[in-house]
Subunit: 160 residues, 2 copies
């Protein structure tokens, strides 16, 4: 069975993403990177850019599953609310393209990737980079955003 997972770590400034294809028992990293949006742009413009960027990724790679981290209340309630805008866009894209939408709690993701639910962002990053050693060679500007998205994506891949 062929499945293609899109893992996303959304943000209004930087959004990390990773795409992994699963074919029977083998899996391949197809694409990973980040979307950076200027904070100078109006929020609704950024929502539009975010929508179009992921709509294209979904169509180009025939995504079957979108994987997200469950969000918990931030210190800043307005940041938390605005993160909801981007999650809403992903819910819409999942609905319009008949994708499965899978969510994991932050602890589950850290536990799955590092073996420790209280791992730091750096520990997650180094665990992910051990699995994809070629990534370390590439200079990734928004490294933690990309490794977070990879960690989320792999949780989708590993789920029973």
């Amino acid at each position: 069975m062929l499945k293609t997972f899109l893992g996303i770590d959304p943000g209004f400034h930087v959004t990390g993403y990773a795409i992994i294809k699963k074919e029977d028992k083998r899996s391949f990293l197809i694409d990973c990177g980040y979307l950076q949006m200027s904070t100078q742009k109006h929020l609704s413009e950024r929502v539009g850019i975010f929508h179009d960027f992921f709509e294209e990724k979904i169509k180009d790679h025939s995504i079957t599953d979108v994987v997200l981290e469950t969000s918990f209340l931030y210190k800043n309630a307005q940041t938390f609310l605005k993160l909801g805008y981007l999650r809403g866009i992903l819910y819409l894209l999942a609905n319009k393209n008949n994708l499965n939408l899978i969510e994991f709690a932050p602890r589950e993701i850290k536990q799955a990737v590092t073996g420790f639910g209280g791992a730091s962002k750096e520990q997650v990053a180094s665990a992910v980079l051990r699995m994809f050693p070629k990534l370390s060679e590439v200079k990734i500007t928004a490294k933690n955003d990309v490794t977070d998205a990879l960690a989320v994506c792999m949780c989708g891949l590993w789920q029973r």
Copy 2:
């Protein structure tokens, strides 16, 4: 100058809306009502229904301005986050259809409509119904959701 305002009071169960057209100094209530979505449906399905419902309203009535109430943190953080999903959809629709997006704080809306920033939902409803007396004759099931949306819409209309 012709402008058509769509005021929305979003919710995952009931969303009130009102559409008012402004032509020079006259204004007309074009449509008002509510969208009810079954809580049995998955969240992403409701996001899709919400998107399509308002996309149609925007196209049918050549909406120029979307008016929303700023949201503040609810007691329930998850409800607050999920409200963000619907707001995100409205931001997307505003972006895709080149609409102005106007937001007012709850106090501003109550102040504008009732003259008192701390007014109750019922006080807002009765102030709105005094302005649109014909509405009182109609049995409105989700009355407060509709009157809230009307109040929001009128703030858009009245702004300088």
